[in-house]
Structure formats: structure tokens, C-alpha cells
Subunit: 158 residues, 4 copies
């Protein structure tokens, strides 16, 4: 038990190109044996969850609203927070590492919260170039980087 939990954060609406990146990243997270944590909704979240399920992984959706029905089809575990944007804090806290895909202001809040908590934050195709984040060139690069950082963290008992 106690598997790695990797978060993917991004917007509820995204281009096809960004969705493909999210789907591939979700697939690679699941194939590594890690659990995917995300916001459980549409756009980047849905694409990432679809990818994770294609690899036979487990997907967790942490929803802002008060109904389970808000979750996308590819969500295994539905966490209904009824807490609006405060659910972003839960996504950051529950993820050992965050991979940011594109994203707007909501995503920026998750980047900031994860950095504040001292968690690795990796960005992919994102407008947000915040000091302290690591820029990845591809889904493969992002997930390898995440796993490498988490292995170091584990060895150092962080």
C-alpha cells in the first residue's frame, strides 16, 4: 500500500493537442504503478484519467462541488469536497508531486500551493514559468522526472 500519488493539474477546457499530452501523461503515471490524483472534471483532468485507465491504473477525482455526478467517466474514486477552490489545496496536499499541463489561474493556485508545501512541481506546455518549477519537454520527460525526484525524496526520507 502507500503507492506514489501523482497529481495532474490543468483546465476544464483545453485544445486537442493539450488533451493528447494529458492523456499520454496519465497513461505513463498509471503504467509506473502510481495513482493519478486530479480534479475529476473535464478537459485536462478527463484526458489524463482516460489515459490512466487505458494503462489499467487507479484514478482519483477530487471534485469542487457537492455531487458525485460531476466526475468524469474515467474516475474510479470520487472525493466530493463541496469546497470550491479549496479542493485545490487537497489535490496539492494529497499528491507527492504535481505535473502541470497548460492551465489558467486555478492551475496557478495549485502550482503556488504545491511549491509552498515543498512538493516538486513539473510543468508541461504551460504558460506558467514560476521560479521553483521544473520544465519538462514531453510526457515521458515529465513522468521520468517525477519518479526520479520521488525516489530521491524517499531515500532521503523526505
Amino acid at each position: 500500500m502507500n503507492k506514489m500519488q501523482i497529481g495532474i493539474v490543468g483546465s476544464t477546457a483545453c485544445s486537442n493537442q493539450v488533451a493528447e499530452i494529458a492523456e499520454r501523461t496519465g497513461f505513463l503515471i498509471a503504467r509506473s504503478g502510481s495513482i493519478l490524483i486530479c480534479g475529476g472534471r473535464t478537459g485536462v483532468m478527463e484526458a489524463a484519467s482516460r489515459g490512466a485507465k487505458a494503462a489499467g491504473g487507479i484514478t482519483v477525482g477530487v471534485l469542487p462541488g457537492s455531487s458525485k455526478e460531476e466526475a468524469n467517466f474515467y474516475t474510479d474514486i470520487t472525493i466530493v469536497t463541496e469546497m470550491g477552490h479549496a479542493r485545490n489545496v487537497i489535490i496539492a496536499r494529497s499528491s507527492d508531486c504535481i505535473i502541470v499541463i497548460a492551465g489558467g489561474y486555478g492551475t496557478l493556485s495549485e502550482i503556488a500551493l504545491a511549491l509552498k508545501m515543498g512538493k516538486p512541481v513539473i510543468t508541461l506546455a504551460s504558460q506558467w514559468a514560476i521560479e521553483g518549477t521544473i520544465k519538462a519537454s514531453s510526457p515521458e520527460d515529465a513522468v521520468e522526472c517525477a519518479l526520479r525526484l520521488l525516489a530521491i525524496g524517499k531515500k532521503n526520507n523526505i
Copy 2:
């Protein structure tokens, strides 16, 4: 996807007898194919999670603190809320039905929140006899009752 999510609520400390009831209830929830949601800590939560894992189920722990390490050994998915008692609201909202085992004031708050949300609340060996809850005589009775109520709810599209 979108499996039933059944919550077990109870205290962090409990007698051996109550722990056995919790373990058996967790086992039966998992054997029914439902996901176990709980507070992820010791006592009733740990016993229920141990039971669910013995049946090969999936366990979710919704923690009050800010560290994943707070979760008991039998937790598959760790939701780190950093929100103290407010995590009780998330447990109630994320559960399709709540089974209460013994419990103190924290448990009473979860009963009240679940009833307020219109969710079925089933009690087992509990001092709390609140109007609107259903008293079960055994783990078997509690889980059968939960599944029956959820099946009716689903048919009526509640």
C-alpha cells in the same frame, strides 16, 4: 467505474469487540464490490480498512492532518485534507451511505452532516440514537441494509 462508496465512521480508539465489528463490516463492504471510505486513522478506521483489504477491496483514507504518514497501513488511497474536523464533511459527502460504529462527538458530527445531506445513516453498536438513523444488529445486517437502500436510491435516480 463509479462504484458504490460506503463510509465507515467511528473513533480513533475502540475496544477489541468494536474493532472486530468494524473489521467484519469493512470486509463485507469490500466483498460487495464497494469502495470503503473512512478517516484513514487508527481504531475503527484501521480495523475497517484491514477488513476491506482482507477481502481484496479498495480503501480510501480522508485524513485530517497534513501528512500522508498519518494514514493507517491498510489505506490504498490517501486524501490529505489539512482541514481538521472539516474532513468529516468530505467523508459524508463522498460516501453514498454511512455506517456508524460506536463513536464519540466526532462521529456524531458525521451522522448529523450525512443526515443533513439526505444520505442513509446506519448505526452499529453506537450510543447515538439520532432520529433518522437506522439501527443494524450486525455487520451483515448493516451492509445488506446499505446495499438495499443504495439500490433503491439508484433505481429512483436519487
Copy 3:
């Protein structure tokens, strides 16, 4: 600074008789120089806030939704939580003492949370007779009791 903060909890809808009790209790809290904390909405909360303003006091409304407009007319400080029922935890935590007036399941959750936190809980005209709460016979009795308990707590540095 650091005045006493006394919480009044109760339902969004109530009888005229209960509203009168709430208004009188809010009045007495404000006259004692304490700040009134409540859920900021209609029913018991509005009546209590109206009473507190009639005595020239300060009223705080801790709202469940995402808009300041949700607050009743007698609210001075509007705390917009966007957190649904989790705002009940904030009301309990922010109050040095809770006075319960009538109330349903939401109110019961606040009673349970306040008791869990070790705060004095005084009930007035309430169906909830939970172990650990103190039953008052009138608004005067309730506010006197609250002030006496808080004075003792302060002396003992609780």
C-alpha cells in the same frame, strides 16, 4: 482587542417564537460587549444578528456559499467560505462558546463539533439534548451562563 466571540447556531427557517428568543439572545451577547458569530443567513441567524445590532454590537456571518450577497442585512463582517457545511467547523472553532437555538441536523453537527473541540455548548428551546450540553431556560440564563463559563475558562487559561 481579542473580545469574547459567542456563536449562535440554529436553522435558516424558524417560528416567530424561536426568532424572538434568538433576537433577545443576540441583543444580550452584544450588550455584554461580546462579538456575535453566526452563519450569516436567515431564520435564527438573522434574528440573532438583528438583536445584536439593536444593542450596537458587532455581527459576523460565516457564509456557506460563494457570494457576500447571501448575508442577511444585519451582518457587519461577511466571511465567504465557499465551503458548504464545512463552514460549520469554522463557526465552532471561531466561537469561544456556542448557544444553540432550536435547530435541525446542521445545528446538531455544530453541537457535536463544538463538544469535540471542548467548547461550552448551551441549548435554548432545542430538541437536541446531547450529553455534555447545558440547558438554559431563557436568553438571559443562556448568556449569563456563557459569560460565567468563559470567565472561568479565562482564569484557568483554557
Copy 4:
């Protein structure tokens, strides 16, 4: 009632120069008749609250922890959230406008949340130059800008 509520966000530790800016800004907010909302702790928050009290204003501290004692000396109303970083969401939601003074990652999360909610965000002496924020040159400039934007918002019923 229903006064303007202006938030000041910034770090728990700051230079004397930044503290002076925060104190002056707090003073001007209170002199305008608005309520000061902040995180209730040390650094920028304490300086801003001290300034607001010097002008006879009302100060609200929205604390991350579970004890009222965490609040600085200049806090009139203490909101105890017990919700860690999620209290940032409450500060953003409860403020009609946010003035950012210097700040680290926690402050960045509040900027992002306020922008996501469509609220005006004004920065002073801050490293964060996020698209959508307005840069002010002095406390006077920041508070004038805030009041002007809120007056326009009110006229347009935003």
C-alpha cells in the same frame, strides 16, 4: 452595513520597509471606512492590522490554525479556520479586492485564487507580476485604485 472588505496578503516575515508599506496601506483602508481582511498573523498581516487600528478601523484575521491565540495583537475579529492553506481561499472570497504586498508562494496562491474569482488584484512592492494584476506605486495609489475599482464594480452591480 455591508461595508467594503479589502484584503491585504503578504508573508509572515518581512523587511522593515515592507512592514511600513503594509502599515500605511492598512491605515488608508481603515480611513476609507473599509474593513481590513487578512491572515491574522505576523509580518505583513500584523503591520497592516496595526495601521488599520491606528486609523480606528476594524480588522479581521482569518487564521490557518486551530487557536485564537495565533492572531496578532491588532486583530478585532478572529476567524479560526483550522484549515491550513485553504484559509487562503476564504481570504480571497471574503475580500472585495486584494492588495498584495511583497509575498512568497502562499501569497501567489492568493493572487491566483482572487484572479480566478474575478476580483481586482493590486500589487505593491511584489515580485509577482502575474497577468491580470495591477501594479501600484505606493500605498496611496493602491488604496485609491482599489476604491475606484470597487465603486465601478458597485455601479455595474458586479
